[in-house]
């Protein structure tokens, strides 16, 4: 195991218990996040990426349950840590950026308060005025114009892009080692998206934090990521560095994803969409979950494939590449 791995997730399983049956939202997911890298987790809606991201700091609520697995953060298993210790890690070592900044900020408190509060929680002796000053400093760093005034503003007085910057500010307030960003730009305008992506890149460049970026937007992935993990129906189907993934996509699902996105450099007559639809997470097909939609399916696909190393740093879970 590399010591450059900040986060190692091993065989994580998160199940939801419903009257209709057990939804295996995350079913044996293993991957790692290295220091100072931006890792993208890509997949369609419902593939389990959001659930997985929250399971990392054990924020899964009933009827969901973390059934098994390990989450090693700097060698410590977060899933076995007592709640008190875990609280110290949340907001300080690992922080979150959510999708909809509008609903994530408490409408009754000012923007600056959110940041100051986060700072105060993880410091033992700081006074509120100091925390407030720090909040304004961080607002400046995330390029919020007129930070003193904006800090005193309430969320409903700020635009979407501004609100997301506030969220990012709370995320970096305590210089975390890992920032988990769950679809941070999906709810924003395109122009604002670009600015936020720049901010996220600076997290890696300026603060040396690692970023786990969850998205279904391949454009974002191309812009920002170092490495990519592709998820489908609760499992990881491929993992590779970004160039490798784009030039040599192995898994049929990855290939399908890339072909469904317009490439301005290549002339294509029509976009290919992936035939079929996402499986019912309660009645999963036996064997490879992509089997029903895979153009290359063959007999072996009735057995569940394992994540194997195709080449250095390029993993894939597909019988097509069996040795």
């Amino acid at each position: 195991m590399h010591s450059s791995n900040l986060l190692e997730v091993k065989d994580l399983r998160v199940y939801f218990y419903t009257y209709a049956g057990v939804v295996k939202a995350v079913d044996g997911v293993s991957f790692s996040v290295r220091r100072g890298e931006i890792l993208c987790v890509v997949g369609e809606t419902g593939c389990g990426k959001s659930v997985m991201s929250r399971a990392i700091t054990r924020m899964v609520k009933p009827p969901g349950k973390i059934v098994s697995g390990e989450v090693l953060f700097n060698g410590i298993d977060l899933l076995k840590l007592p709640e008190k210790e875990l609280k110290k890690i949340r907001g300080r070592e690992i922080s979150y950026i959510y999708q909809d900044p509008g609903s994530v900020l408490d409408p009754l408190y000012t923007a600056g308060f959110h940041v100051a509060e986060t700072v105060l929680t993880h410091s033992s002796s700081m006074k509120f005025s100091e925390a407030w000053e720090k909040a304004i400093r961080i607002f400046r760093e995330v390029l919020i114009p007129d930070p003193e005034a904006k800090a005193k503003s309430y969320p409903h007085e700020l635009s979407g892009g501004m609100k997301q910057r506030v969220v990012i500010a709370t995320a970096i307030a305590n210089t975390p080692k890992l920032v988990i960003a769950d679809e941070p730009t999906t709810a924003l305008d395109v122009t604002v998206q670009a600015q936020v992506m720049e901010l996220i890149k600076s997290l890696r460049d300026k603060y040396s934090s690692s970023v786990m970026l969850i998205t279904h937007n391949l454009g974002v992935v191309a812009e920002v990521c170092d490495r990519v993990v592709v998820m489908y129906a609760g499992k990881i189907v491929e993992a590779a560095f970004i160039e490798e993934l784009f030039t040599n996509p192995l898994h049929p699902y990855t290939q399908g994803l890339l072909e469904a996105v317009p490439n301005p450099l290549r002339k294509i007559e029509r976009l290919r969409s992936i035939h079929g639809s996402v499986p019912n997470m309660i009645d999963l097909p036996k064997g490879c979950r992509f089997n029903p939609r895979c153009p290359y399916a063959f007999k072996l696909c009735n057995e569940e494939p394992v994540l194997m190393e195709y080449s250095k740093d390029h993993l894939v879970s597909c019988w097509l590449y069996r040795r």
Partner: protein
């Protein structure tokens, strides 16, 4: 359906002399068409002339002023009970969601909303007075040695008149409980639902993701919950006044409600109008206060 001749009633009923009846009609403008009567009345109200009650032979305003403290005391005590019991019960139900306790509290709230106040009052009288002999069934208690506010309990406390205090507390127990019962249920239910809603909201999630300590975390929960709770508490206080009409009747509590019901039975229109107006005015003020409180707590509402 046509109202019995009120003038006759005011003049003394069956034995009334025709001249007195005519006098009454003159005095209360009963000979005028109804829209003129209404116009005159509205003008009178705004100039402070709330007429004279033909039954008590005193200005309605004087009557109201005399009976008001009793109702005020009853409403305040009932309001306090509503909040003191309603909020904790609601919180308990939210935190112990879907357990037996939660269901019990919700059933209690439902019964509170569904039970007719007059029936509840009678039932409580039967249990606590006629059966157990623990608490008095009617009346307000005794005048404390010193009278400051007209609120017997407060005055007894200030004057240090412990005997009076105990007696007055015993007298107010059943009426205030009856009055509080409905609103209690509503408040408990609103508290429960609001707390659950807030606990499952995204910003609370975010608070957890930031690793906030318990006290900071619950600060967010409480402040966000307080908006609907303050609203409903204020509304229920206004409703207490209309409930007081029934409760005072059953317990012979000498407040505006009793005054109004007596007025109804004697067709004392000025008194009826006066009491209705007073209660409505207080209701309006209570709503207004709630609106202001709302604006104080929630920055989105401020102008």
């Amino acid at each position: 359906m046509i109202p019995a001749d009120p003038a006759r009633l005011w003049a003394g009923g069956v034995k009334a002399r025709p001249e007195v009846i005519e006098l009454m009609k003159e005095k209360y403008h009963l000979n005028l068409p109804i829209h003129e009567q209404l116009a005159i009345y509205i003008k009178d109200v705004f100039t402070g002339n709330w007429r004279e009650s033909p039954m008590t032979k005193r200005p309605v305003l004087v009557d109201l002023a005399e009976y008001f403290p009793a109702t005020a005391e009853l409403a305040i005590v009932a309001g306090l009970i509503q909040i003191a019991l309603g909020i904790p019960l609601g919180l308990l139900a939210a935190l112990k969601r879907d357990t037996l306790l939660d269901h019990l509290i919700r059933v209690l709230a439902l019964v509170g909303v569904s039970a007719p106040a007059f029936w509840l009052a009678i039932a409580l009288q039967w249990i606590f007075y006629y059966s157990l002999g623990l608490l008095p069934a009617t009346g307000r208690g005794v005048l404390p040695s010193q009278s400051y506010t007209g609120l017997y309990i407060l005055d007894s406390l200030i004057a240090g008149d412990w005997n009076a205090l105990v007696i007055n507390l015993r007298h107010i127990a059943l009426p205030s409980l009856t009055l509080a019962f409905t609103g209690l249920g509503i408040i408990a239910r609103v508290v429960r639902n609001t707390t659950l809603d807030v606990l499952s909201s995204e910003f609370i999630d975010f608070a957890e993701a930031r690793g906030l300590s318990n006290s900071k975390f619950y600060r967010h929960v409480v402040k966000n919950s307080s908006i609907p709770i303050v609203t409903i508490a204020g509304l229920e206080f206004g409703m207490l006044l209309s409930g007081a009409i029934i409760v005072e009747t059953v317990f012979s509590w000498p407040g505006i409600g009793l005054y109004a019901v007596n007025a109804i039975n004697s067709l004392d229109y000025p008194a009826i109008m006066g009491s209705t107006l007073l209660i409505s005015l207080i209701f309006i003020v209570a709503n207004f206060v709630v609106d202001i409180a709302y604006a104080i707590i929630d920055p989105r509402v401020r102008l």
